[in-house]
Symmetry: D2
Subunit: 366 residues, 4 copies
Amino acid sequence: MSLNSFGHLFRVTTWGESHGPALGATIDGCPPGVPVEPADLQRWLDRRKPGQSKYTTQRREADAVEILSGVYEGRSTGTPIQLMIRNTDQRSKDYGDIAEKFRPGHADITYWQKYGIRDPRGGGRSSARETAARVAAGGVARAALNMLLPDVKITGYMVQMGPHPIDRTRIDLAEIDRNPFWTPDAQAVELWAGYLDALRKSGDSVGAVIEVAASGLPAGLGAPVYGKLDTDLAAACMSINAVKAVEIGDGMAAAALTGSENADEISMGPDGPIYSSNHAGGILGGISTGQDVVVRFAVKPTSSILTPRKTITKSGEATEIITKGRHDPCVGIRAVPVGEAMVACVLLDHVLLHRGQVGDAGGRIG
Amino acid sequence: MSLNSFGHLFRVTTWGESHGPALGATIDGCPPGVPVEPADLQRWLDRRKPGQSKYTTQRREADAVEILSGVYEGRSTGTPIQLMIRNTDQRSKDYGDIAEKFRPGHADITYWQKYGIRDPRGGGRSSARETAARVAAGGVARAALNMLLPDVKITGYMVQMGPHPIDRTRIDLAEIDRNPFWTPDAQAVELWAGYLDALRKSGDSVGAVIEVAASGLPAGLGAPVYGKLDTDLAAACMSINAVKAVEIGDGMAAAALTGSENADEISMGPDGPIYSSNHAGGILGGISTGQDVVVRFAVKPTSSILTPRKTITKSGEATEIITKGRHDPCVGIRAVPVGEAMVACVLLDHVLLHRGQVGDAGGRIG
Amino acid sequence: MSLNSFGHLFRVTTWGESHGPALGATIDGCPPGVPVEPADLQRWLDRRKPGQSKYTTQRREADAVEILSGVYEGRSTGTPIQLMIRNTDQRSKDYGDIAEKFRPGHADITYWQKYGIRDPRGGGRSSARETAARVAAGGVARAALNMLLPDVKITGYMVQMGPHPIDRTRIDLAEIDRNPFWTPDAQAVELWAGYLDALRKSGDSVGAVIEVAASGLPAGLGAPVYGKLDTDLAAACMSINAVKAVEIGDGMAAAALTGSENADEISMGPDGPIYSSNHAGGILGGISTGQDVVVRFAVKPTSSILTPRKTITKSGEATEIITKGRHDPCVGIRAVPVGEAMVACVLLDHVLLHRGQVGDAGGRIG
Amino acid sequence: MSLNSFGHLFRVTTWGESHGPALGATIDGCPPGVPVEPADLQRWLDRRKPGQSKYTTQRREADAVEILSGVYEGRSTGTPIQLMIRNTDQRSKDYGDIAEKFRPGHADITYWQKYGIRDPRGGGRSSARETAARVAAGGVARAALNMLLPDVKITGYMVQMGPHPIDRTRIDLAEIDRNPFWTPDAQAVELWAGYLDALRKSGDSVGAVIEVAASGLPAGLGAPVYGKLDTDLAAACMSINAVKAVEIGDGMAAAALTGSENADEISMGPDGPIYSSNHAGGILGGISTGQDVVVRFAVKPTSSILTPRKTITKSGEATEIITKGRHDPCVGIRAVPVGEAMVACVLLDHVLLHRGQVGDAGGRIG
């Protein structure tokens, strides 16, 4: 049992602090023969990298990943893969105040109360910088999925910034890579840009909702009743910094539906069952249906803001805090590639689990 | 690794099918010396028991729990506790149709596609009947929590039925036990009763939202970064049948907040830090703050309904299905004690984990 | 994590005490479609059953196994299999003394020191009666192995009783079922019978060495570097009551060999590599070679004897103890089917793990 | 589940290959506040370091450990500790032959058969070089034990080289650090030196037996019935390269004892129970008694030898192999600090487990 790990057969352990020498991911259980090159991983890391637009933290990190083990001549060997990313831009002086004062809404206070010691530089282990290791691991998961199930495609995008949701009728996945918000609604971009710019200048921050959809999956992935595919997706997404809610398919909205509305009716297609709708988000009873798996999560606003907030010091004295330094006004933006990475890891894990526990015993229809 | 288990140190494995001879929970890691009597567990099981009002399934099950191991002279011994509940009212004939036809929105089809064999009687392992075992295990968790942290109180209640939420200004926890919906809003009862009665008579069903609040917790429970308290709560709740979303604190609504709105400001109270609000739901960075832990989850409507839906047979032929038998028009009602049980198990688990990994090293404030 | 469980994908949790109402095994991860009938399991349980000869305890237990879940129409469904064996012959009065006095060489004292509470009746959880559950689970593992790899054969036998080893040149596996000691050396039987009879009459007991060999395995099972096949076999065997040592292949004797003696030379056979010898016990680097896997373990003598031994009471007073009741003079005899069961479980587990993590990526030779 | 990890609450994952850029250990679950400095870890690594006498491989590795995470201002923070050791002396040309030919007695063939790909340089992941990471992790475990239980002392030593055991009446622990074999029998040194020198010159190798004793432990560590202290010790030691057998206390010799001989009689000492002997090796029923925990393991001879052995190539052709390069004539020598490290990790793990699962509920005597 490791509380800094996730996954069953494809098991990822992340390590490292925001301002330590390095951070990374120890991956156990990657199948042998997967093509794993630094450049392939870098492609995903570059999406999460800070400092790419004025809407993300201005910290400058190359986020260059080194592969220290488990890969021989460009292919995985089945042994643990160690991915390391050096921290290069640690301006610890930016964070002087937070060693003594607790930021409201931040883990400063709970780490202190739990451990009695913490690395305060940049939030230490609780920094969103930890998610760089997730993205690197997700790159390995994608490569393995691509080898085993080449039709699988995992796409993350932002569907709400602050109070402003996208218009779902305008979703065009091709738009995602064309704007700094990873949104599939081209018309949302301008609105969001103005809104976020104003917030940033006022020293405030805002939350967001991210959606990740995976297509091309077979039916049968997932394992009742606590290793369900949706259980593991919920855990994976909730473990991301600042996430406060996770939805599968219709999510919270499913509560308002009747059974007759919620039923995704089934008919027979050329390659198997097809469904009239996807309220279920591609998962029934914890097992994939073969439809798109759809997961959504809400990211709260960054708690490191320039607006002064009331708080206390370690010695219990009342004070105020404003957090200088280089922070994301909407940390949800960089959560998009992180969500994709987590979904990739969970899906690969369940592909391996299914292969191990069930093999090809699954039932045919028709 | 067991995919039918949850918990780290307090580990619960449930087993059993809806219409097999029995179902139950194997509990490993219960501390020694906990008072565990069948009557104490029965108290919680009776809350989940079917057939208690016209709003729940009319299946008649005593749900009497037997303790087969791990308890000596009324106290846990530290060895595995086996809890068994016999199935007594299995009218398999009620379910003839579903052996050949797949219910839309139900796990019938995915179990078949995954395993190539399934127990179709009453949904087999995918039946909500499995949650009886969770409630029994939750009773043990509550008893252990009560021994270790007597101030902890865990309360579940329904906050939305179908499209009808409660009015939060009217919440009165004393109301919960006075109505068949476990709702703290007395004025919601009449509305919901009429709404559900009409639905039931029309052969339809509806979803719900359940909230569970835990008070009296210490700060410091939870473990970064994948064994977070909220991660484990999300997984525990998402693993409950029919759950499609989980929220902590403000949940999805946190996305719409600014950082200055979302910050729960901190001041010093007589016994430690106190907070101006609880947007965080009692958890920061995956670790408890000492405020109430608040988790909410959405339950989709039962898919076993009398309204005919289009589907296919195992041989791929188009057909329609209506599900006779004795089903819950709003399965969310009986999810209330289940949610409480899952929260109790997760909290106890983290109390034990914290004791093991950290002991009393935690930091003081003031 | 459960400390009463073993296995990775095929995970067995045993529960129950010697004199409680029942004991059993919760099995998670059995593949679907495996033929599992009570009679098949009973066959193995009957080999371990007490009271079959004058050389084993005279306690009378039917050891009848009930399958409570996970099996539908005679085949496993992929969901947890619950196996229950009721205790029927609990003469608690036989054990009056041991509630207050600690038996030297027994777990009475350590359970008390650890937990502060224990079920003293028949040794409670520390009784070898727990191994009945292992044998039942082993029956399921054998059935699954038989489905997946029909050539695999697992055979346990006794190779030493007290100071009397067998003569390995006389090994004839056909003899094993023809004597009460499960020994393959027919000439050892008479000697052992006389030796054990004398010991039994004098109120003493003795140890033994058990060997289990598995043939028909493919190369490639096992996983470096802590989930090695031999690591898991060592853990599985050492977890059996009274076991004090585990050997693979040449075991302790390997220490005395030179590298040139120890090397099992390789040549090419019609179906793959063949080896000139099997010092390695069928495992190199934690991975099976395809040769017979050979594991051996030493069982210490039963500590419940009629010879008076010095000990203390719970209140620390000096006293003597003799243990009446119905005990095995050589508990190693009944450890033979237990060892087989553990090996079967470990092998199946690694078959599933290999399928999940590696699939058919393994390398060919020739 | 990670197959390259061990431990329950104190969980160590090693990674890295013999000739890759680096290897290391990812440690999760180290309690906060433990003093962890590179120099403290280096002290243990230096004991295992190659090239220290003519009796170990002449490979030159500094084995300098870097702490990349989890430590702040010299103390552990409770977050994952990443320890990295760079490989600096990789003469891959030494190993040309073994990419195509399989060394008898080595994992070359099984890795190939399992994975279909392997890093052949220096044995890749199957090299004993992996144990450097274990020793580094063991250093952290020792520091944590020292903080929690300062009386615990863990001492490893060699008790047999090839066919030459020590004389146990001459054991003097003070001798261990005074000879290159870590033996407590001063008179064995000369004999072993001559024996090993002759073997080395003849291009052969030999096995050994290592014993590790831990004193100063409390009673009550360990957890029935599969997380037993001896089960975990057996697994930990069997996972070390080249180990073929593990014994606790009297080990294999216990088979030859009668119950009256084997019983460690109990009397009351000034600080609790004392025992007349320690056949049990400090463990009863999987739980520590408070006596010295004694574990012993046999290491087979290195399979990389200069004596030609018959083998086959990857294409199945018959050939001979001699392994040049820089190998240990008795790899058991360097297994001494590795055994100590594994025992330290297992003991710490069980200290944490006991604290978490049982707390101070243990029973008093007297």
